[in-house]
Amino acid sequence: MTALLEVVDVVKRFRGLTAVDSVSLSVEDGEIFAIIGPNGAGKTTLFNLIAGVYAPDEGEVRYAGARIDGQEPEQICAAGIARTFQIVKPFPDLSVRDNVAIGAMLRAPDMTAARAQGDEILRKLDLFDKSAQKAGSLTLPDRKRLEVARALATKPRIILLDEVMAGLRPTETDRMVGVLRDINRHDKLTIVMIEHVMRAVMALADRVHVLHHGASIAEGAPQEVTKDARVIESYLGMKAAH
């Protein structure tokens, strides 16, 4: 396996605050890679650096061997990296179907084809019977699913999932885990996920990368990382680690 996505010594500062402090990671083609860490650890900022929302102050982001840091979000999506937003961003006044069709039109010849591709993804994510509803009228779990559906519709090679499990009930989490595993295995999609729901992380991730105060503190298989003293400390505080 080769590295599909590489983040090398990336730094991002907001005024005085260093949100991402020299983070490096490497995601293999076909892998499910989880990024965990307490709130404010810099996870979403790291996603925004990969997805082109910000350019890093230092360091590089490489995708399939080529540098992509500093490119615009639409260029990075077109290159094959799709992302979801932690705070969901549906097109509220458009139907669920149109929301996903807009994702699909990136690579579809016309809207008829885009809609057909979108419908397929809606079925996969159990949203098809809500396709005529306005996205703004969906419940939060459905909006999370719509985020994933829209990103998948762009036919990416890598999908960046920002807390898509948050707010889902355990049965819904298991269903989403099943969907993600399926797209990873059958569609050969590489998944990078920021996730707090450890049930999903343990079930899905090949490797876990832990951020704390913007810096990397651990990386490895889920079972190892969750035993790491520094990880437990960062989540639960000093005492629990001892």
Partner: protein
Amino acid sequence: MKGALSFLTPRSTIALLVCGVALLIAPFVVDRYTLSIILLALLGTYLGQAWNILMGYCGLLSLGHALYLGLGAYASAILFVNYGVGPWLSVFVAMALAIGAAAVLGWLGFRFRIEDVYFSLLTIAFAEIVRIGFDNWSFVGGAAGFFLPVNASLSHQWWNLRGGPLFFYYLALAMAVASLVIAAVLRSSKLGYAFLAIREDPQAARALGVNINRTRFLALFISAAMTAVGGVYLAFWTNNLFPAQILETSKSIEIILAPIIGGLGTLMGPFVGAFLLVPLGSALTDGLRAIGLSAPGVKALVYGLILMAIIAATPNGIWPWLARKLGLEAREP
């Protein structure tokens, strides 16, 4: 094209045909005064549709569309009077000029991320700069205006837009229909969906691969070029141009009222809005004069109150409400 019509149900097809036939035979049924009101409503439909593509679909609020209207009108009028260039040729110059102005505006606005109301302010500023410029530019007649010769012996030269009321009526009808077709084709195309995505959430649109700068430029260019064509019509129909009329902010506001009242971002909104507001305006003028209330400002006051009542009653515009009442809602494609 087929996809563009897929929103039509059998019921709405019939409704559209009835409207079309009524407008086609109107000149033989109604008197000249009524016909001139319908003509104005058709022109309002056309200009409203042009503006609606920018605001209703792409979410860019232009309060300076008089700029494109004026540029188109002046360009064609000057080319005709001073250089003998007919409108069928100068219409392209008019569109090019409008696109040029829109390009400068868009470059400033999109390049420097001037968003929302600040973009709207920019559109007003642009229109006002040009209006003040034209007011003081003797080549275009300045504040005293620019006039096209009205010569009865030329009235057969329809190819130079020197026709009678009937000719101008059918031209306005053709333009209104064309604007509806353009809007419908756009609405069902990838470009149209990119417009909608940007209107709904620019950041999410970019994350899905929509090039928002390019798309916004296209929306601006289409809207500006269409408006400039309306300006050409206006020049040859009215035969006189004054910066204080055609380039005024009040003209920009007049253009945008019909689509807002009719229903932003809807295909039929500009049509419904224009066919309500234009007759309402002239009915008010007549009515107030009849009861001896023709003091300046009274009409604007009453008109404004009626607009407020309509907006309060149907905040999303008349058309979405009317379509529901008449069972004419669009079908999912």
